[in-house]
């Protein structure tokens, strides 16, 4: 118990120490020191995470409580960490992939000034800290702390090059859109506190029976709003493509591998609640699938290498939500993991390309990079195969698991999912072919400088490529071998509650094999078609029209939001500021002032100086007083009634 307490604190705090040291010492340290320190902290956490992973394997789930964060009346929110099969898996992914990306960054960011270099690593360490807090927290409030913390880091890192105002807008947009989701999350937490008086996972899940089904639906829906923001689902996804303004390793770490999967983690963590709210689950499945398809269509026509990957991420996240929606929690977590490998790989590969191309990101200006960058080429290709779901690469297993579960739920979900998978294959191989195949379309100067990236970049690529290739074997489906789904067995304690609630009717094996075969065939055909088509790509400057133009412009969603939300709010704010506040409220206040002024000016005239008037008033007043005196009782009663 004590060991695990210390270990968890170490895992979480070690990156924070890195943040403080690099952040505060940014003016005094050489780049080498900074890089060593930044990576070293994460490596430390990673090694400790491995150790913890084995401890969990032996001892199962444990909760380590440190101190009372908030303790008011009956509400107790301790600062405590819960380590179990799910969180131990996530901390491995976070620190492991995080470490590789740190290493990659040491080279990628080397042109920065030392102080900005240190700032970059400080932010990155802070991000790891927040993310660990998010997954290790033993209650929803601690999760929320991490939840907002990663949002902050995302904001800081997207706007890392703060001289560029477009980047700042992207950063702001990301933060604000996330906040919309956060509000949902927060309301769910309030709801829980209101109904159960606790937010600690163990208590909440144990006492879930006390909640009515309506309560559970509301809570899960509100939590899902949070997930929509953080994991970039419809309708809150637009920040993620813009977030590509940040440095590429940041996109790989935050906006592909870890932060955006927080929503999936949260739902997997609360799986029992979701299983008991079939309404919300159906909603999640629909949103997930819609996002998967919608983002895939946009990705078909994007020409910015990072934008394609960004929309692809949105789309893959959609698949994960589809998995959660149809009850395939293991599948979703599995896909989070494989996605972390291959999407990080793809982003880092893209970064390697961008680096070599001197910050050119338009794939129409690339081509033929295969011969200049062999390692990047191979690893990128492996990543593409993995995401396309070609067996035996990792993406095949995880995506297949989700789609199989979807088929059990409703075949329509399955067919649409397959359509999305084919689109994924199409745009990924379009990206690959336009970047690496054919002949170079950039300037001579660029061509002259093309080179393979240094080893700090290629080694993480190679490691990730290996993981993306073999990572799927931890979850071999029943069809191929019995009891070989290691991940399912590992996560079984987390999902046992949900499993007990629903009957599983597995698809029979021959049908499953047939489906796999057909899909794989379709994918392979798509690959061949795309390969042929886009390796011969020639740049032509034709204005696209019709539907293609709509896709190129991302369905005009940004414009739509601008028109229906941003503009009206802006108008309202201007109205409040210039009219309602100035003329309305302040006008009333000043009006009262003016009224007093005016009436005193009028009353002043009574003091005319005419003795006759004075006497008249005097006499009249005396008459009134006498009158009151006579009717003393009635009048005073009248007056006292007024006041």
């Amino acid at each position: 118990m004590q060991t695990i307490k210390i270990l968890l604190a170490f895992i979480v705090l070690w990156p924070l120490v890195g943040f403080l040291v690099n952040g505060l010492g940014r003016n005094f340290r050489s780049k080498k020191m900074t890089a060593l320190y930044g990576c070293g902290q994460i490596l430390g956490s990673f090694l400790a995470s491995i150790y913890v992973f084995f401890l969990v394997k032996e001892n199962g789930s444990q909760v380590a409580t440190y101190f009372d964060f908030i303790n008011v009346g009956t509400l107790k929110i301790p600062m405590s960490f819960q380590i179990d099969q799910l969180s131990s898996l996530f901390i491995l992914i976070i620190t492991g992939v995080g470490f590789l990306i740190h290493v990659y960054s040491t080279s990628y960011m080397r042109d920065e000034e030392p102080k900005h270099y240190a700032r970059y690593f400080a932010y990155l360490n802070l991000f790891i800290f927040s993310m660990l807090l998010l997954v290790l927290g033993a209650n929803y409030v601690i999760m929320f702390i991490g939840w907002e913390g990663v949002g902050l880091c995302s904001y800081l890192l997207i706007g890392f090059w703060f001289k560029n105002d477009n980047y700042n807008y992207a950063a702001k947009k990301a933060f604000i859109m996330n906040r919309i989701g956060d509000l949902g999350f927060l309301l769910a937490v309030f709801y829980l506190i209101n109904k159960l008086g606790t937010v600690t996972y163990i208590d909440v899940f144990a006492r879930v029976g006390e909640l009515s089904s309506q309560d559970i639906t509301i809570i899960t829906a509100l939590l899902f709003v949070g997930a929509m923001g953080k994991s970039a689902q419809l309708p809150l996804y637009t920040w993620l493509p813009d977030a590509m303004a940040g440095p590429t390793p940041v996109s790989a770490l935050i906006h592909a591998a870890t932060m955006v999967t927080a929503g999936i983690y949260m739902i997997a963590r609360s799986n029992i609640l979701y299983t008991m709210a079939p309404g919300t689950q159906g909603f999640i499945a629909i949103i997930g699938l819609a996002t998967a398809l919608f983002a895939a269509t946009i990705a078909l026509k994007q020409n910015d290498i990072k934008k394609v990957l960004a929309y692809s991420t949105v789309s893959q996240l959609g698949y994960m939500f589809l998995g959660l929606g149809v009850g395939a929690y293991t599948g979703a977590v599995f896909h989070v993991m494989t996605h972390a490998f291959f999407k990080a790989l793809l982003f880092l590969g893209a970064g390697s390309v961008i680096h070599a191309m001197h910050h050119e990101q338009d794939i129409r200006k690339m081509g033929g990079l295969k011969k200049f960058m062999p390692i990047t080429n191979i690893t990128f290709l492996l990543g593409c195969l993995a995401i396309a779901g070609v067996p035996p690469f990792s993406g095949f297993f995880s995506k297949d698991e989700i789609l199989a579960a979807a088929f059990e739920k409703n075949p329509i979900l399955y067919y649409l999912g397959v359509a999305g998978a084919l689109m994924t294959t199409f745009y990924m191989f379009r990206l690959y072919a336009m970047t690496f195949l054919g002949k170079f379309r950039g300037t001579n100067d660029q061509e002259h400088h093309l080179h393979e990236s240094p080893s700090a970049i290629t080694i993480p690529l190679i490691i990730l490529a290996i993981l993306a290739t073999v990572g799927g074997f931890i979850g071999i489906p029943e069809v191929f071998a019995t009891n070989s789904h290691w991940l399912e067995q590992w996560l079984a304690p987390i999902f046992e509650g949900s499993k007990a609630l629903v009957e599983v009717h597995a698809v029979n094996h021959s049908q499953e094999l047939l489906m796999m075969g057909v899909v794989t065939g379709l994918v392979l055909i798509t690959i061949m078609f795309t390969w042929n088509k886009f390796s011969k790509y020639e740049e032509k400057n034709i204005e696209e029209t019709g539907f293609v133009k709509v896709l190129e412009n991302k369905w005009y969603v940004d414009e739509l939001y601008d028109a229906i939300i941003v503009k009206p709010l802006d108008g309202l704010a201007v109205f409040f500021k210039n009219i309602f506040e100035k003329s309305g409220i302040d006008g009333t206040v000043n009006g009262v002032g003016r009224l007093v002024n005016y009436s005193s000016r009028q009353l002043r005239l009574v003091q005319s100086g005419q003795v006759g008037n004075y006497i008249l008033i005097m006499v009249l007043s005396i008459i009134v007083i006498i009158f009151i005196w006579i009717n003393d009782a009635t009048i005073f009663r009248f007056i006292s009634k007024i006041f």
Partner: protein, 473 residues
């Protein structure tokens, strides 16, 4: 003993300051005096048992000089005691004409504030309430900006009308007490009928609502904050706004429980609307000071709503937030002051790119800005979390609507950060340098407090727990 010291150290040192002819001597002397007050305040919070004093004051009227410190009083006197040295130190380089008078009036304001927070007698409370207002009137109208005369006049009339209504209310209650006394205990012991409460409630509430301020009685505030010298603005928003909140908790809710329940919903709706309204206006501001002013209205609105929701958890949040908001908003003003002193402008349109020129200021502001939008692990999160919780228990929809202000707060705060610190430098900011040592030091202290109470808010909660239980068992 401690409450007496808290009042009389500022009074005496303030009066002495008027006689110091040398401006720098007055500055240093005030700083020293306020640090001594701080030491006494800390002693009051942590050490002393000797926390009340009750002597004859105006026997004819039945008014006694009764002062006491409970948890809430301790917290707010501590806030007052912390604020003044911080303000003095952070604005040490500001130049004023008649320095001695400026600092003398500042210290008198402090005495008034302290008195309000410790008073246990209604007449005494009223006396200090005015004592805190009058020096501020002179401070604003003598050392303020261009439009100071009109603005300060409005401010004074506004708050004074409120004060008079409160005086009427106090006298009304005084006449109802069996032995004609102003003591808070006998006010609490009054068994008022619903009709009596309905009248007296508004007499008090309007006074407090103006001070906080609550929509729609807020229009004096942005102007006054903008036109006052920044050190006065810090006190106005950091501490004086808390007077209103404090007074509602101490002098309104326990005395008029029926009326509180009856009018609570109206006030909450007003407050919640005010939050959104102020946040939206803040988005459109072009002046740092006005932006912070409107942001402050939004935050205060939440506190007011949480009080009238009358849930223990929300009240606890208000307690915590009173302290934390004071710290945060003072931090923001210090940044605004540093920018104005150095660059001579507060307009966003003329600023930009300061992060390149003043990185330390940028980092410190960043922490303050994120505290302003209640990011977790900053102090404001705990308070807002608890307050929203209370509001949520009162009514889900109101809490949801109020929650929109969380989003809007992010919008205007990040707008400010972006326009002031990011982007490219402008002609005004080209030659900017980083902040001076004293401002750095003060801001670092504030940042430590912000993060410290963000991670471990329990001391503040424990300090005020009893008061909450007393009001809302």
């Amino acid at each position: 003993m401690v409450p007496l010291l808290l009042i009389f150290i500022p009074v005496i040192s303030g009066l002495l300051t008027f006689f110091l002819k040398n401006g720098n001597a007055a500055k240093n002397w005030s700083l020293v005096a306020s640090v001594i007050t701080l030491a006494v305040g800390l002693y009051g919070v942590f050490g002393s048992q000797n926390l009340s004093c009750n002597v004859e004051w105006l026997p004819v009227l039945g008014a006694r000089f009764s002062v006491m410190l409970d948890g809430m009083g301790k917290m707010l006197t501590l806030l007052t005691a912390i604020s003044f040295p911080i303000v003095f130190a952070a604005t040490y380089n500001n130049q004023y004409k008649n320095t001695n008078a400026f600092y003398g009036l500042m210290l008198l304001t402090q005495a008034g504030l302290m008195g309000v927070f410790v008073a246990g007698d209604a007449l005494l409370f009223y006396f200090f309430w005015e004592l805190a207002l009058i020096p501020v009137y002179f401070l604003c109208s003598i050392w303020g900006g261009e439009k100071r005369i009109a603005v300060t006049f409005k401010f004074f009339i506004y708050t004074f009308v409120g004060s008079l209504l409160m005086l009427v209310g106090i006298l009304y209650l005084y006449n109802l007490t069996p032995n004609h006394t102003f003591a808070i205990e006998s006010f609490y012991a009054l068994k008022l009928t619903a009709a009596q409460q309905n009248i007296a409630f508004w007499l008090f509430f309007i006074a407090f609502a103006i001070k906080m301020p609550i929509f729609p009685l807020h229009t004096w505030q942005p102007d006054a904050y903008e036109q006052s010298p920044t050190s006065v603005t810090m006190i106005l928003s950091g501490v004086m706004a808390k007077m209103g909140i404090f007074a509602v908790i101490r002098w309104l809710v326990p005395i008029f429980p029926l009326a509180t329940e009856k009018f609570g919903s109206i006030i909450i709706i007003l407050s919640v609307f005010g939050m959104l309204y102020a946040s939206l206006i803040a988005i459109k501001q072009d002046d740092i000071k006005r932006l912070i002013a409107y942001s402050s209205i939004g935050h205060i609105g939440l506190m007011c709503a949480a009080i009238f929701a009358m849930k223990g958890i929300g009240l606890q949040g208000v307690m915590v937030q009173m302290f934390n908001h004071g710290i945060n908003v003072i931090g923001l003003w210090i940044v605004a002051n540093a920018i104005q002193q150095q660059l001579g402008t507060r307009k966003f349109s003329e600023l930009g790119g300061l992060a390149q020129k003043a990185p330390i200021l940028a980092i410190l502001l960043m922490v303050m800005a994120f505290a302003n939008i209640a990011l977790p692990l900053t102090n404001a999160f705990v308070g807002e979390f608890l307050m929203f919780n209370g509001l949520f228990q009162y009514n889900i929809w109101l809490a949801t609507i109020a929650g929109i202000s969380i989003i809007l707060a992010a919008v205007y705060t990040l707008n400010m950060v972006q326009k002031v610190f990011y982007g490219n430098t402008t002609t005004k900011t080209e030659n900017a340098t980083d902040i001076t040592g004293n401002v750095q030091l003060i801001l670092i202290v504030l940042v430590v407090v912000v993060i410290g109470f963000g991670i471990y808010p329990q001391p503040l909660i424990n300090l005020t727990k009893d008061v909450v239980i007393a009001i809302n068992p």
